[in-house]
C-alpha cells in the first residue's frame, strides 16, 4: 500500500529497520484533524513492526496536550502550535518535548454550489463576515452587487483546533458571528452548507476534497487552496501546519516510541496526501528527522 514517497524515504526505512524487530508500546493522543494521518501510519506500522502496540486517542488538540502534561502519552498531535499556557504547564511538569511538523492543511472556505456570485473573498471581507458586530449580516453588506439575503454561517465547534486556528488568524481579537451554527462534526457542516443557498462555512481541506462536487470553493485573495498553494504557503493565511509533539524522554528511553516516530515522519507526507492534506517538501521531512535523531 506504500507508494508515492517510498523511494524518497527508502534509505531511512532501512535505517529504521537496522533496529530490527522492535517491541514495546507507544501511546499518543490529540488532534482529530491529524488523526486520519496517524491512522494510516499506525495501520502500516502494524504490518512493519507487529511487536509494537500503538494507541492513538482523539481527544482534540487541547485534550491531547492535557494528557501529555499528565505524562500519560509519548506524543501529542496538534492542529495548531502549542500555546503559552501549555508550554508553562509542561515546564512545570518537567516534561521536555520536541515539535515535529507533519503536513499542512488548508482551511477551506466554501459556499453552496448554487451560489453564483461569490468568486473570491479577501481576508478583510472574511473578517467582516465572521466577526460578531451585533448586526444582521447580508451578502449585500460585503458587495452591493450581491443579493440582499441573510448570510448563514457554519463553523467548526469552538473547542476544535480548526476553530482555534481560524480564530487566531481571521478573527484575531473578535468573537465569531453569534448566529453561526457550530459543530464538532465537520460532516454536519458539509450537509448544512449543501442544503442552504446562502450558506458559508469553513473546515479542513480534506472535507472539501471529499465533497468537492457538491460545494463551491472560495479563493482567498485570489488563491485557491491546492497542494501547491498550501505547501508553498501561497494560500495564506489559512494554510496551517499540523504537528506532532514528541516527548524527549520517551524518544531516548523507549525504543518503540522512537522507531514509531521515525516511521511517522518518513510516511507522513504520503499519508497526508492520501487523506486529503498536503505533504511537506522532502527537505522539510529530512529536517524533522534530524531533529528526531538528536533525541535518540
Amino acid at each position: 500500500a506504500c507508494g508515492g514517497t517510498d523511494e524518497g524515504g527508502g534509505t531511512e526505512e532501512n535505517g529504521s529497520s537496522t533496529a530490527g524487530e522492535v517491541e514495546g508500546s507507544v501511546i499518543g493522543d490529540g488532534s482529530s484533524t491529524v488523526a486520519p494521518i496517524l491512522e494510516g501510519i499506525v495501520e502500516e506500522y502494524a504490518g512493519a513492526q507487529p511487536g509494537v502496540q500503538v494507541t492513538v486517542g482523539v481527544s482534540g488538540t487541547g485534550g491531547g496536550f492535557e494528557k501529555f502534561m499528565q505524562g500519560e502519552t509519548d506524543f501529542s498531535n496538534a492542529s495548531r502550535p502549542i500555546k503559552e499556557e501549555e508550554i508553562a504547564a509542561l515546564e512545570e511538569a518537567g516534561i521536555d518535548y520536541t515539535e515535529l511538523l507533519l503536513a499542512y492543511d488548508g482551511l477551506s472556505v466554501v459556499v453552496n454550489a448554487e451560489n453564483d456570485f461569490v468568486d473570491n473573498l479577501t481576508v478583510d471581507e472574511l473578517k467582516k463576515l465572521w466577526v460578531e458586530d451585533g448586526s444582521t449580516k447580508m451578502w449585500s453588506d460585503i458587495n452591493p452587487e450581491w443579493p440582499e439575503e441573510e448570510v448563514i454561517f457554519y463553523a467548526p465547534g469552538t473547542a476544535s483546533g480548526t476553530y482555534d486556528y481560524f480564530n487566531e488568524v481571521i478573527l484575531e481579537e473578535g468573537d465569531i458571528e453569534s448566529t453561526a451554527t457550530l459543530s464538532e462534526d465537520d460532516n454536519t457542516l458539509v450537509q448544512g452548507i449543501q442544503g442552504d443557498e446562502n450558506a458559508i462555512g469553513f473546515f479542513g481541506y480534506a472535507y472539501y476534497i471529499a465533497n468537492q462536487d457538491t460545494l463551491k470553493l472560495v479563493p482567498i485573495d485570489g488563491v485557491e487552496p491546492n497542494d501547491e498553494t498550501i505547501e508553498s504557503g501561497e494560500y495564506a493565511p489559512l494554510s496551517r501546519p499540523l504537528f506532532v509533539y514528541a516527548k524527549n524522554s520517551s524518544m531516548s528511553e523507549n525504543e518503540a516510541a522512537y522507531d514509531f516516530m521515525q516511521y511517522t515522519i518518513e510516511h507522513a507526507g504520503e499519508m497526508a496526501q492520501a487523506v486529503g492534506y498536503v505533504a511537506l517538501a522532502d527537505e522539510e521531512y529530512e529536517e524533522q528527522l534530524a531533529k528526531l535523531e538528536a533525541l535518540k
Partner: protein
C-alpha cells in the same frame, strides 16, 4: 444406614465455621452495599472540588443568573449557565410532548386491551427501543428526522431542538410505557373485575379505575423519563448543534449541558483552564437537576400512592 440422620447431623463438622460465615457475610455484604454510596460521594467530591476552583474564577451569581454562555470568547469569556439550561429544557419539553402521550397510551393498551401473548411480544420489542445506543439515535436524528422535518418545515435548520427532542422522546417511550404498564398491571385484578361487573367498558375501567389507581407509578415513570431526557448526551451532541442560546427558538442550533461537557471533553480545553473547570460546574448543575428530579419522583410516588 446404621446411624439415625439426627446422629449424623450431630456429628457433622463445620458448625463453628458456619457460625463464623453467618457473622461475616452481613458485614461483607454491607461493605458491598456501600459501594453505591461511595460512588455518589465520589461523584460529588469530583464535581465539587473542581467546581469550587471554577468559582474562584467565575462569580457564582454570574454562573447562576448569567444569560450568556461564551466560554471560548477571546474578548470576554462569559459563563452564565442559563442558555445551557434553556437548551436542555427545550429538548426535554419536546421529548415529553412526544413520549408522554404515546408512552401512556401504549401502557394502557398493553395493560387493559392486549392479550397476554400480544403483551409478551410487544413489551420486549418496545424495550429494544430503550436499549438502542444513543449514538445510533443521534445519527437517526441527524440523517433522517432532521431532513424529514426540513422537507415539511423549510425554516428548520440542520441543527435544531425539535429533531433531537423527538428522538429523545422516542428513546424514552419504552421507559414510560414499561414502567406505567407495570404500575397499571399491579392494580389488582379484583378491582378491575369489580368495575367490569358493574357494566363498565374497558375504556371506562382504564380511565376511571386503573389510571387513577396507578397514577403514582405513572407520574414517577414520567419524572424518571424526564431525568433521562435531561441527561441524554449523544443525541443532542450530534443533532442539536453547539450554540448556547437564551431564547425560545426551537428551529435553530442550541446546546445542552451534556453536549457542552462532551464538546469540551473531545475538544481543545487545556488542563487547568477555566473552560476545563467549567465542565465540572456544568456537571454539578446537571447532577443537582437529576437529584431534584429524583426527589420529586420519590415525593410523587409517595404523595399520590393510592391504597389498595
Amino acid at each position: 444406614m446404621g446411624q439415625s440422620v439426627q446422629e449424623m447431623i450431630a456429628q457433622s463438622k463445620g458448625k463453628k465455621s458456619k457460625k463464623f460465615v453467618e457473622k461475616m457475610i452481613p458485614v461483607l455484604l454491607f461493605l458491598i452495599a456501600t459501594v453505591s454510596v461511595l460512588t455518589t460521594i465520589g461523584i460529588m467530591l469530583t464535581l465539587i472540588v473542581e467546581t469550587v476552583t471554577f468559582f474562584t474564577r467565575v462569580s457564582f451569581i454570574e454562573f447562576i443568573f448569567g444569560t450568556t454562555w461564551l466560554p471560548f470568547s477571546n474578548l470576554d469569556a462569559q459563563f452564565g449557565i442559563l442558555p445551557l439550561i434553556v437548551g436542555t429544557l427545550k429538548i426535554t419539553l419536546i421529548a415529553i410532548v412526544v413520549a408522554v402521550p404515546i408512552g401512556i397510551s401504549a401502557a394502557i393498551y398493553l395493560s387493559e386491551y392486549a392479550t397476554d401473548n400480544v403483551r409478551r411480544v410487544i413489551k420486549p420489542v418496545l424495550e429494544v427501543l430503550a436499549g438502542i445506543p444513543t449514538i445510533v439515535y443521534g445519527f437517526f436524528a441527524l440523517t433522517f428526522v432532521t431532513p424529514l422535518l426540513q422537507s415539511i418545515f423549510p425554516e428548520i435548520k440542520i441543527f435544531n431542538a425539535i429533531s433531537p427532542g423527538i428522538v429523545v422522546g422516542i428513546m424514552i417511550i419504552p421507559m414510560i410505557a414499561s414502567l406505567s404498564e407495570d404500575a397499571m398491571s399491579s392494580v389488582p385484578k379484583s378491582i378491575r373485575d369489580g368495575a367490569l361487573a358493574m357494566g363498565s367498558t374497558k375504556f371506562e375501567v382504564a380511565m376511571k379505575i386503573t389510571v387513577p389507581a396507578a397514577i403514582s407509578g405513572i407520574i414517577a415513570s414520567v419524572v424518571l423519563a424526564i431525568s433521562r431526557a435531561i441527561g441524554e448526551t449523544m443525541i443532542v451532541s450530534l443533532a442539536a448543534g453547539s450554540t448556547p442560546k437564551f431564547d425560545g427558538d426551537f428551529t435553530g442550533s442550541i446546546q445542552t449541558m451534556t453536549a457542552y461537557i462532551v464538546q469540551v471533553s473531545k475538544g481543545d480545553a487545556g488542563y487547568g483552564t477555566t473552560i476545563y473547570y467549567s465542565i465540572y460546574a456544568v456537571g454539578f448543575t446537571l447532577f443537582v437537576f437529576t437529584l431534584v428530579m429524583n426527589i420529586l419522583a420519590n415525593y410523587v410516588s409517595k404523595r399520590f400512592r393510592e391504597e389498595y
